[in-house]
């Protein structure tokens, strides 16, 4: 009896962490094939950790509030981009530029978050597909603002970021004078034996660490407790007097604001804004990374974020090279990593839905077992 329960425990552990395990295997196979040096790999991963972790952390709070994977984090990314475009037109550079952009992005993010939260409250039970469509819808509004209103309604001075026709923003906006200013604020180069010199973006990591602490702290607040309650059972929470709708909206607003900050950190590392495409894939990659870290639609932790960044981005770095090594075509690897991102999300969604149904069918089995036991007792 004891043995079987142990076995089922191991099995359920394997099932719940099947995605990370699968990724460890993929990475283990691809790393040697890719021929990348340990030094390069480590440097890439630390860079990407600094670049993406903040963005992915922004997904945690809506999951806590039971709203699933927030595909609407793209909204925050757009707010961050708009703030950065304006700041870069005002020629505010370096760290002050970033701080200003963050402050500036907050009102945009809050507005978009309120909109998104309101809509999601109208579409309870299908939050994910709705937030996904919202991201497209707001993308349209973003285009309207950036492509038509900037330069005509919203003053844009510099011709370097304006389209030659006089309004609208160019395809790329350079952030050269902000590039990696945060990452290099406290320079640190670690010499790891066997790996070589690894550059650590210390300040970015400190900010990420602070955000982690804030999230941990947030879970202990009344609001955090309410969100967990709402996430688990809306009706019970409502009966207890919690304002469910408001709580859900707040969770989305917080997520959007954090995503805005995350996008600014992301772009300062990249050193330029791809005005019309930076945000479009960001939601998908962040969600995929989180899921790879072992999170599910209704449960995610800070640990999932970091494990996810490491595994997902290792795959991301090595896949094209490994693909090229196997097939002689580098495009295969490119497509492979896109495929894997989508497949991971698909698998996570399918597992989430099937588990919801499995819980139901177990009750019947228990009843039958109870009756059989009763029969046996009677017989004996």
């Amino acid at each position: 009896m004891n043995n079987t329960s142990k076995n089922t425990k191991i099995l359920s552990f394997l099932r719940s962490s099947s995605v990370p395990i699968l990724f460890i295997i993929i990475c283990a196979v691809c790393i040697p094939l890719s021929g990348l040096s340990a030094n390069m790999l480590f440097n890439e991963i630390t860079t990407r950790m600094g670049r993406n972790a903040f963005l992915i952390l922004s997904l945690l709070i809506p999951i806590m509030a039971g709203m699933g994977l927030n595909f609407g984090m793209t909204l925050g990314a757009m707010a961050g981009e708009i703030a950065l475009i304006l700041v870069s037109d005002w020629q505010i550079v370096g760290i002050p530029g970033m701080v200003l952009a963050m402050i500036l992005s907050v009102p945009f993010s809050i507005l978009l978050g309120l909109f998104c939260g309101k809509i999601l409250n109208m579409a309870k039970g299908r939050e994910m597909i709705t937030s996904y469509i919202i991201s497209y819808f707001i993308n349209g509004v973003y285009l309207l603002v950036v492509l038509y209103m900037m330069g005509s309604v919203i003053p844009i001075k510099h011709s370097t970021i304006k389209l030659p026709r006089g309004y609208g923003i160019r395809n790329t906006v350079s952030l050269l004078n902000m590039r990696q200013k945060l990452d290099n604020l406290i320079p640190l180069k670690l010499n790891i034996p066997g790996v070589g010199i690894v550059k650590i973006p210390v300040m970015t990591f400190i900010i990420i660490a602070i955000l982690c602490l804030v999230i941990v702290w947030f879970r202990r607040t009344k609001l955090g407790q309410d969100m967990r309650a709402v996430g688990q059972d809306m009706e019970v929470a409502r009966d207890a007097g919690i304002n469910v709708e408001r709580t859900r909206i707040i969770s989305i607003v917080i997520s959007t604001v954090l995503a805005g900050f995350g996008m600014i950190i992301y772009l300062q590392n990249m050193g330029n804004i791809a005005t019309y495409s930076s945000h479009s894939q960001i939601g998908m990659f962040c969600i995929a990374a989180l899921l790879v870290g072992g999170a599910s639609v209704d449960k995610a932790s800070i640990g999932n974020v970091f494990l996810g960044v490491i595994l997902f981005h290792t795959m991301f770095i090595v896949a094209p090279k490994a693909g090229a090594a196997i097939t002689g075509d580098s495009m295969i690897g490119e497509y492979f990593r896109v495929f894997v991102s989508y497949a991971v999300i698909t698998i996570a969604l399918v597992m989430y839905e099937t588990q919801k149904r499995k819980a139901k069918s177990q009750e019947g089995a228990m009843l039958a077992a109870a009756q059989d036991e009763g029969e046996e007792e009677k017989d004996s």
Binding site: R126, L144, D329, I332, T346, L349, T354
Partner: protein, 350 residues
């Protein structure tokens, strides 16, 4: 006055406010057309042509909506079956109109296989269909991106000239089935062109769906979508009906993309099928369908309205404000329409 208002209110209620706005917008565009110097017959021909390309893709939504599987965001899966049919037909050396028939014939088994797997999956995750359908579509498209490179295609018309392997991103259909339906019984009066064959083909498939919905199984499908518990209590195998609907949708999508290609003149591979689901979804919603109710009429109206907006806005807007805002308008309008449908309370579903 009072009476008139209630009449108007009723119309809005029946027709739906967003659809009303879109219809009025399209009418406005048509009225403005001659004033901005655009040629009305050409414009209308354009709308008809685009309708004939896209109609079947929109029609592919109908079976799944009927069986309660929601909007088929997994349309790309069916499109991939169609693309396999198209490329294999060329690879096997079929040319001219025959290549179109061959493409349909080859696409069909793929659609059946993919549709079965897809339907089986959707039956296991009832309630979360739409999100998973989206990602099934995405995953399959990105998987096929690899396949287009790896699969041993040889036809010089399709593979990259330099390396001699891997399919090109766009393949011209000149000499194959370009305009094969459109040219059948084509009517041309001045600038006004009607691709009769394409329209007839659409009509044929629409008729088949209409007829199917009048049969015993079709009735069962509607009932499953309307109230799955009722259907189960009436002895219907709900899962089997849903599976059938998914297969039908997938097959229609496969045929739809072939018809689209014959109008467009090219096969588009790789990431092209990626975002084909959203225009089809918003088209049928604009036509007045909801998440669990759709008719052939919704398909026709929706496709005309959607394609009308898509073709008319660039020309008209360009002429009025000298800016091509059509993209933005289309994105906002079509996604707004989907949002509107998703936030409607749907009783009876689930």
């Amino acid at each position: 006055m009072q009476k008139e208002k209630s009449w108007f209110g009723k119309l809005v209620e029946n027709y739906g406010l967003p659809r009303m706005i879109i219809t009025l917008f399209l009418l406005l565009l048509l009225v403005l057309c001659p004033f901005v110097g655009a040629d009305l017959p050409t414009q209308i021909s354009n709308i008809i042509a685009r309708f004939s390309w896209n109609g079947i893709l929109v029609l592919a939504m109908v079976p799944m909506v009927h069986s309660g599987c929601g909007l088929n965001f997994g349309l790309p899966l069916g499109i991939i079956s169609g693309l396999l049919g198209a490329t294999l037909s060329i690879e096997f050396g079929f040319t001219g109109p025959l290549s179109f028939l061959a493409a349909i014939a080859i696409a069909t088994p793929f659609a059946l296989i993919f549709g079965t797997g897809y339907g089986w999956l959707l039956n296991r995750i009832k309630g979360g269909e739409m999100m998973i359908a989206t990602y099934v579509g995405f995953s399959s498209v990105s998987l096929m991106c690899m396949m287009w490179l790896i699969l041993p295609y040889h036809s010089p018309n399709m593979v990259w000239g330099l390396s001699g392997k891997g399919l090109r991103t766009t393949i011209t259909l000149e000499g194959y089935y370009n305009q094969v339906l459109a040219n059948f019984l084509k009517i041309k009066i001045g600038n006004f062109v009607i691709p009769t064959g394409s329209l007839l083909f659409f009509a044929l498939l629409a008729l088949c769906i209409w007829a199917f919905l009048h049969t015993k199984t079709g009735t069962a499908m509607t009932a499953v979508g309307s109230n799955p518990v009722f259907a189960r209590a009436a002895g219907i195998n709900v899962d089997r009906i849903r599976l059938l609907s998914v297969i039908m949708s997938t097959w229609l999508a496969a045929i739809g993309i072939l018809v689209y290609e014959q109008g467009f003149g090219f096969i588009q591979l790789y990431m092209a099928p990626f975002y084909m689901a959203l225009p089809a979804v918003s088209a049928i919603l604009i036509g007045g369908a909801t998440v669990n109710k759709a008719t052939i009429l919704n398909v026709i109206i929706g496709t005309i309205l959607f394609q009308g907006i898509v073709t008319m806005t660039p020309t008209v807007m360009n002429n009025i404000i000298h800016t091509d805002m059509s993209e933005v308008i289309r994105i906002i309008a079509s996604n707004g329409m989907i949002l509107y449908a998703l936030t409607r309370k749907t009783e009876g579903s689930k």
